[in-house]
C-alpha cells in the first residue's frame, strides 16, 4: 500500500510518442465524464493508417470508454459527456455537422461479446450494406456478403448454410461473423473492444490472425486484457491507468523496455 501514493503522483504527462505521421484518427486532450465523475483525463493519441494500436490496462482504466469515443458510441449513454479534439481524417468527430450514423459507417466496431442479430448469416452481413444502400442489385449484395465473409475467414465454414441463423454458430464463428458484418460496410477504421475475451484459445488465435490480415486495409484499434495478445497483434501499444494514458510506444519497446514504472508493474504482472 505504501507505494500507491507515489504511483498517483506519477500520473501526469504521457510518456512516449503519441504522434504518428499522417494519422487516420487523432485525439487531443480528450476528457470524458459520466455525470460528475471524470473517466478519461486528457488523453491524446494518434492512430496511424494500416496499423493496429492496442489499448491495454487494468479493469476500469477507461480504455473501453476511450475506444467508444472514437465512433461516438458513448452518445447512447445520456450522462456521458466528451470533451476534446477528436478527428477522423481532419474532420472533427464531435462537430455539430458530423452525423454519428455516417461516422459509425466509417468507423466500425466489434464488441466484446459476439452479438450477431437473430437473423440468417446472410442477413447479418448484408444488414449494413442494405441499410446504407451500398448494393444496387441482388448480385452486388451477394458479392459484398461473400467477400466480407471471405475476408473474415468464415466463408469456407458457412458457405453451405448462409440462410441458417447466425446465432447458431460457435462463439468464435459468431465473432468472425460480427467482423464480417462490420467490414461489409467498408469502414475506414475498425474498433475492437476485447474481441477475443469470450473465446477459447483456438478461436482467439484465428481472430488474431484475422486482425493481422485486416491491417492491410484498415486502421484498427483494439482494447485487450491480454498482454500477449497486444504483443502479438499490435504495432503500437497504449497503456491506460485510472483514466489516464500513461505510456504509448512501439509494441516491442513497451513490452521489452517500458519507460514508466506503472507500465512496467503492469506488464510484469505486479498488478492488474
Amino acid at each position: 500500500m505504501a507505494e500507491k501514493p507515489d504511483m498517483h503522483q506519477a500520473l501526469g504527462e504521457t510518456v512516449g510518442d503519441i504522434f504518428v505521421d499522417n494519422p487516420k484518427m487523432s485525439t487531443r486532450n480528450t476528457n470524458v465524464f459520466y455525470g460528475e465523475k471524470q473517466a478519461i483525463h486528457n488523453v491524446s493519441l494518434d492512430f496511424g493508417k494500416n496499423s493496429v494500436v492496442a489499448l491495454i490496462g487494468p479493469s476500469g482504466c477507461g480504455k473501453s470508454t476511450f475506444l467508444r469515443c472514437l465512433n461516438r458510441m458513448n452518445d447512447t449513454i445520456p450522462i456521458c459527456r466528451v470533451e476534446g479534439d477528436l478527428k477522423l481524417d481532419d474532420e472533427d468527430i464531435y462537430a455539430k455537422d458530423m452525423d454519428p450514423v455516417l461516422l459509425r459507417a466509417r468507423v466500425g466496431m466489434v464488441f466484446q461479446k459476439p452479438n450477431p442479430f437473430p437473423k440468417s448469416i446472410y442477413d447479418n452481413v448484408a444488414y449494413g450494406a442494405r441499410l446504407h444502400g451500398l448494393a444496387r442489385t441482388r448480385a452486388e449484395l451477394d458479392e459484398i456478403v461473400v467477400s466480407s465473409l471471405q475476408r473474415a475467414g468464415l466463408f469456407e465454414e458457412v458457405k453451405d448454410r448462409l440462410q441458417s441463423p447466425g446465432t447458431g454458430l460457435s462463439g468464435g464463428q459468431q465473432q468472425r461473423l460480427c467482423i464480417a458484418r462490420t467490414i461489409a460496410v467498408s469502414p475506414e477504421v475498425i474498433l475492437m473492444d476485447e474481441p477475443a475475451s469470450a473465446l477459447d484459445p483456438i478461436a482467439t488465435a484465428i481472430i488474431e490472425e484475422l486482425i493481422d490480415e485486416l491491417r492491410s486495409k484498415y486502421t484498427i484499434a483494439i482494447v485487450t486484457h491480454s498482454m500477449q495478445q497486444a504483443a502479438r497483434v499490435s504495432q503500437r501499444t497504449a497503456y491506460f491507468h485510472m483514466g489516464r494514458l500513461v505510456e504509448v510506444g512501439e509494441t516491442n519497446q513497451i513490452f521489452t523496455n517500458p519507460q514508466h514504472e506503472l507500465t512496467e508493474n503492469y506488464i510484469t504482472g505486479r498488478f492488474g
Partner: protein, 416 residues
C-alpha cells in the same frame, strides 16, 4: 461430536423442511386446480341444456282460407299466419273446445311459431295451397320441462298431458340449438341468442385493440428508447403505474363525460365502449411493452448502432421485433381484461336491452359479459342455462384469442 455428525443431523431437518414445503406447494396447486374444475363443471353442466332445444311438428294449411286471403292471392302481406298457426295447433287436439283451454294449449308454443310458419311460406311460395309439416319452437317453459323432466308450477296438469300426447305422437324433437347462436337478445327465452352480444364484443374489442395497441406500443417505445431521463418521465411513469390500478368504472365515467357528453358520440355504441376499454388497457400494454423492450439485450442495440443504423432503425428493425413476444403477451392480457369488463360499459349505456344484431361500430350493442349479467337477472328458468351458455361462449372467445396470441408469439420468437 464431529462436524460431519452435526451436518448430518441438520441435513435431515433441512430435507424434511424441503419436503414439507414441496407438499404445501402441491396442495396449493391442487386447490387452485380443484376450484377451476368445480367452476368449469358447474358452468358446463348448467350450460348444457341451453345448447339443445325442442321443436314440435305442426301440419300447417297454407290455404287461402286458413290464411284469410282472397282466392288466387299471390301476396302474403295480409295473411293471417297467427290464425293459421293456431288452427294447426287446435287441429292436433280436436277435443279441446273451451276458450280457456284453447288459450292454455296455445301457450305451449313459442310466440315465435307464427313467424316460423310465415318464413317457411315466404321462402318457398310454391307451398301455397298445400298443407305442410312445419317444425316450430315450443314455449321455454315446455322446453325446460322437457330438458329437466321436473314439473313446474308454470304448466298445469292438462298442459303436461298435452305435451305427453305430442311426445307420444312423435311430434317433438330435440335438436342442436342453432337459434342460440344466430339471434340477439329477446324477452322470449327460447329465441334469445348470444350472437348480438358476441358481435358487440367483437366490435368493441376490435376498437380497443386498434386504439390501445399502437398507442401503447409507441408510448412504451418512446419512453424506453427515446425519452430523456428526467423528472417528467419519472412522473409519467408513476402515473401510468397508478392508472393501471384505477377502478375500471372510473374509466366508464370518464368515457361518459368525455366521449358521449362532450364529443357527442352515440350511446351504447361499440366505438365508445372500445375507446373506454382502450383507456383502461393502455397502462397494461405500456407497462408490459416497456419491460419487454427493456429485456432486449443491449448488445443487439450496440450491434445495430455499430454498423451505422440510426436510432429509429435500431429500435424498429431489432428491438421491437425482439420485444414483440412480450408486447403481445401484455396486449393479450389487456384484451382479455377488456373482453371480460362490465363496469365501465354500464356507464356508457351498453347495458341496454338490444334485440338487433349490431352491424357496425356505431350500432347500439351490448357485450358478452353484460349479456351474462342481464340474463342472470332474468326470472325465467331457461335463462339460467342461457347464462351459463353465454359464459361458455365468452370463455371460448377468450381461448381463441389466447390461442392466436400463442401462435403469434411462436411466430415472433427468436433465439439469440
Amino acid at each position: 461430536m464431529t462436524n460431519t455428525d452435526r451436518i448430518k443431523q441438520s441435513l435431515a431437518k433441512r430435507y424434511k423442511r424441503e419436503r414439507r414445503f414441496q407438499w404445501y406447494g402441491r396442495a396449493a396447486v391442487f386447490a387452485g386446480f380443484a376450484f377451476l374444475v368445480v367452476l368449469m363443471l358447474d358452468i358446463f353442466t348448467k350450460a348444457y341444456p341451453a345448447f339443445f332445444i325442442h321443436y314440435v311438428k305442426l301440419d300447417v294449411a297454407y290455404t287461402a282460407e286458413a290464411l284469410d286471403l282472397e282466392e288466387g292471392a299471390t301476396e302474403f302481406d295480409n295473411a293471417n299466419f297467427r290464425g293459421a298457426t293456431r288452427d294447426a295447433i287446435y287441429a292436433l287436439f280436436p277435443e279441446v273446445s273451451k276458450r280457456k283451454d284453447k288459450r292454455d294449449l296455445a301457450k305451449l308454443f313459442s310466440s315465435e311459431a307464427e313467424f316460423q310458419v310465415r318464413n317457411r311460406l315466404l321462402n318457398n311460395p310454391s307451398l301455397f295451397g298445400s298443407t305442410t309439416s312445419v317444425w316450430v319452437l315450443l314455449d321455454d317453459d315446455v322446453d325446460s320441462y322437457l330438458q329437466s323432466g321436473s314439473k313446474t308450477a308454470r304448466l298445469n296438469e292438462t298442459q303436461l298431458a298435452h305435451v305427453q300426447t305430442l311426445q307420444d305422437a312423435g311430434r317433438i324433437e330435440r335438436r342442436f340449438n342453432t337459434v342460440f347462436f344466430s339471434t340477439g337478445d329477446s324477452r322470449e327465452p327460447e329465441i334469445a341468442g348470444v350472437l348480438g352480444a358476441t358481435m358487440g364484443s367483437i366490435f368493441t374489442v376490435t376498437v380497443c385493440l386498434l386504439v390501445a395497441f399502437p398507442i401503447g406500443v409507441l408510448a412504451a417505445v418512446y419512453l424506453e428508447e427515446f425519452a430523456p431521463q428526467n423528472r417528467w418521465v419519472d412522473l409519467i411513469e408513476i402515473n401510468i403505474n397508478n392508472l393501471a390500478a384505477v377502478p375500471s368504472i372510473v374509466f366508464g365515467l370518464l368515457g361518459l363525460a368525455v366521449f358521449i357528453n362532450f364529443f357527442g358520440m352515440p350511446r351504447s355504441a361499440p366505438v365508445v365502449g372500445g375507446l373506454v376499454l382502450a383507456l383502461m388497457t393502455l397502462p397494461t400494454i405500456i407497462i408490459s411493452s416497456r419491460s419487454a423492450i427493456k429485456a432486449v439485450p443491449p448488445s443487439i442495440r450496440e450491434a445495430a448502432l455499430g454498423v451505422g443504423a440510426s436510432k429509429m432503425q435500431t429500435v424498429f428493425q431489432h428491438v421491437v421485433p425482439l420485444a414483440m413476444p412480450g408486447i403481445l403477451t401484455g396486449t393479450i392480457i389487456g384484451m382479455a381484461q377488456a373482453l371480460g369488463e362490465t363496469a365501465p360499459l354500464l356507464m356508457i349505456g351498453m347495458v341496454a336491452f338490444i334485440v338487433d344484431i349490431p352491424q357496425g361500430f356505431t350500432d347500439s350493442a351490448t357485450v358478452l359479459p353484460i349479456q351474462i349479467y342481464l340474463w342472470a337477472d332474468s326470472p325465467e328458468r331457461t335463462f339460467v342455462a342461457k347464462t351459463s351458455a353465454a359464459i361458455v361462449v365468452l370463455l371460448a372467445f377468450l381461448v381463441c384469442m389466447n390461442a392466436l396470441a400463442v401462435f403469434l408469439r411462436k411466430k415472433f420468437e427468436k433465439n439469440w
